[in-house]
Symmetry: C2
Subunit: 343 residues, 2 copies
C-alpha cells in the first residue's frame, strides 16, 4: 500500500494543462498568477497529496533551510533547553535544525563540522568542546561564508557572533555571596583556563577575593574537566589539605554534585563546615539533599537569541561576520548548600 512515485509539480501541471512554472508560482502565491489558477493548483496539489521536494528547491535556490547545531552533549538541561528554543524559533521561519554532539571531543567536533558542511547547512550554531583550542575547523566555516554563531563556550579570536552570560560577574557574585555567609577560605574547582568562559570565572573568583582582602591560596584554585567524577577527585584533594577550605565554588553543577557526594561520605556538614556552590542551575541541584546553590544561565533566552542572530544573517540584515557579543545577566539561586544560618 505504498505509493511508488511521489507527486511532482509536473503532475499538477499535467492535470490542469498549464506549465510547471505556473504551478510553482501559484504555490508560492506569485502576484502574476490569477486567483483562479492559484485556487485550482492548490486544490489539485491537495488531491494528489503533493509534497514539495525540498532537495530540488534547495539545490535550485542554493540554500538548504537547514541549520546545524553543535553541542558538547544533549543530556544536560542547559543544552537541551538551548536547543529546544533554537528549534522553536527557527521552525517558525521554515528552518530545520540538525543536532550533533561532540561529546567534548575535539576530534568528534571536527567530524561534526565536516558533516554539517557536507549537508549544506545554511548556518551553524555551536558551543565548543572543552578540549578545543585549534580553531581551524571553525575558520573553515567562516571561509565558506556560512554564518557561524557561538554560545556559552565561545572564542573571541574567531570574530563571530556570541551569546552567553557574564561569567566574570557571575563568578564574582558567587564569591561575594559566600563571603557574606561568613566564609573565609573559599576554594574554586574551575574549568581549564584555556576555555574563555572558565578563564573568566577564575578571574571573577580572584578579583572578588582581592576586593574583600582575602588571600589567594594556590592550593585552593584547581583546574579540572568538571565531570562528576572529576568533582569527586578534586574535592577529595581539597579535603586532604592540612588547612581545609570552608567553602567550595565549583564551576559546573555536575562536578559540584561529585563534590557533594564526597562531602557527605565524609560526614561533613553542608553548609556549616563547608559551603558549596555550583554553576548552571541544572534541575538536579534542586533535587539533591541538600539543594545546591547555583547560577541560572537563561538557557531559553540564549537559544532564542542565537536563533535570532542567525535569522538576521539569513535575511541579510547583518552583512558580515564580526565579533558581536550578546551578554545576558545571570542570576544567583541561593539554596541550602550555601545558606548558613547563624545563631
Amino acid at each position: 500500500m505504498t505509493n511508488k512515485k511521489r507527486t511532482t509539480i509536473k503532475d499538477i501541471a499535467n492535470v490542469l494543462k498549464i506549465s510547471a512554472a505556473a504551478v510553482s508560482k501559484a504555490l508560492h502565491d506569485d502576484s502574476r498568477i490569477s486567483a483562479k489558477t492559484k485556487a485550482a493548483v492548490k486544490k489539485v496539489a491537495k488531491e494528489l497529496n503533493y509534497q514539495p521536494n525540498h532537495l530540488a528547491s534547495a539545490l535550485r535556490k542554493g540554500k538548504s533551510n537547514l541549520v546545524g547545531v553543535i553541542v558538547p552533549r544533549t543530556n544536560s538541561h542547559f543544552f537541551s533547553s538551548v536547543i529546544q528554543n533554537i528549534e522553536e524559533m527557527l521552525n517558525r521561519e521554515g528552518y530545520n535544525i540538525i543536532i550533533t554532539q561532540s561529546n567534548e571531543s575535539f576530534e568528534k567536533e571536527c567530524r561534526n563540522i565536516d558533516t554539517l558542511l557536507f549537508t549544506q547547512v545554511d548556518g551553524i550554531i555551536a558551543s565548543m568542546a572543552n578540549e578545543t583550542t585549534d580553531l581551524s575547523y571553525y575558520e573553515k566555516i567562516k571561509f565558506k561564508g556560512i554564518p557561524l554563531i557561538l554560545f556559552d563556550r565561545g572564542e573571541n579570536d574567531l570574530n563571530v557572533d556570541y551569546i552567553g552570560i557574564d561569567d566574570y560577574n557571575s563568578s564574582y557574585m558567587i564569591v561575594e555571596h559566600l563571603i557574606n555567609q561568613g566564609c573565609q577560605r573559599i576554594a574554586h574547582i574551575g574549568g581549564y583556563k584555556h576555555t574563555r568562559i572558565f578563564n573568566n570565572r577564575i578571574r571573577g573568583y580572584i578579583d572578588a577575593l582581592k576586593k574583600y582582602n582575602l588571600p589567594l591560596d594556590n592550593e585552593l584554585l584547581i583546574e579540572s574537566s568538571l565531570s562528576t567524577e572529576e568533582g569527586r577527585k578534586k574535592m577529595n584533594q581539597l579535603l586532604r589539605l592540612k588547612n581545609r577550605p570552608d567553602a567550595v565554588y565549583v564551576a559546573s553543577d555536575y562536578a559540584a554534585l561529585g563534590a557533594l557526594q564526597v562531602l557527605q561520605e565524609n560526614r561533613i556538614k553542608i553548609p556549616n563546615e563547608i559551603a558549596l556552590v555550583g554553576f548552571g542551575n541544572e534541575p538536579f541541584t534542586a533535587m539533591v539533599t541538600p539543594t545546591i546553590t547555583s547560577i541560572e544561565q537563561h538557557s531559553a533566552e540564549i537559544g532564542k537569541q542565537a536563533a535570532k542572530v542567525f535569522l538576521g544573517h539569513a535575511k541579510g540584515t547583518f552583512v558580515k561576520q564580526k565579533l558581536n557579543k550578546t551578554i545576558l545577566n545571570a542570576a544567583l539561586i541561593v539554596r541550602d548548600s550555601s545558606n548558613i544560618k547563624r545563631i
Copy 2:
C-alpha cells in the same frame, strides 16, 4: 576572504579536459576509470578544495542520506545515549541524523514528522510521545514507503520494527525483588495504560502479585504522566491512605525522584518504612540519597540495534515493513532505596 563560488565537478573536469561524468566516476572509484585519471581527479579535487554538493547527489539519487530521529526529549540519559549510538553507527555508513524532540506532545510530534518528511529523510527512528494514541501520522510515514523503526515507546498496531526491553519481565522482576525484601503492600505509580510499555509494566506488576498470592489493591495502582512533579503528587496521594504501602514501584526514575523527595519531607525511612524502586537507571538514581534501585534499559544497545535495523532496510536486506520485535533483557540494579537489611 570568503570564496563566492564553490568548486564543482565541472571545474575539475575543465582543468583536466575530461567530462564531468568521468570526474564523478573517478571520485566514486568506478572500475571503468583508469588509475591514472582517478589519481589526477583526486589531486585536482583536493587542490580546488572540492566538496561534493550533497543536495545535488541526493536529488539525483533519490535519497538524502539523512535519517530522522524523534524522541520525547533529549535531556534524559536514556534518550541521549540512544541517540548517540544511533548517530555513531549511521555516521559510519555515511548517514547523518536529524534529531527532533516532541516534548511529549502529540501535536509537536506530528509537526516533527511533517518536518522530517519534508526534509526527505531516508528513514525515521522514533520513540513515541506519551500522549500519542492517534497513529495516522505514523501511518503516513509507512504509506510513503519510508522505513520506520520504533524503540522503547512503540505500538504493535503499526506493524513496524521495534526495539526495546522486556517491560513485562522487568516489572515482574521488580515486584519479585520487593517481595523478597519482605514487602507486602506494594504500590505502583505507573504510566498511562494506553501506552504499550506502561501497560506491560502494569501487567507485570499485577501478575507478580498474583503469583505470590498478594491481593491487588486498586488504590495502590495509579496511572500518571510520570514527571517528577507527578511523582510528588501521586506519592502524597499514597501517603494519605489509611493503609499505607510498604513499598512503591514507580515506572520512571524521574517520578521516583519526586516520590523520594516527598518521602524525605515526611521523614519516612527509606527503605525500612517504605521501599522505593524506579525504572530506567538514569545517572541521578546513583547520585541521590538514598540511591534508588532501578532497571537498566541498555540504551546503548537499543540505539545500535535501531541503527542496524534501519541499515538493513536501506541496504534492502529487509524487504517490507512488518512487526519485527527485538527485545532486550533488562537488568535490575539494586540500590539503597530497596535494600532492606533485617536484624
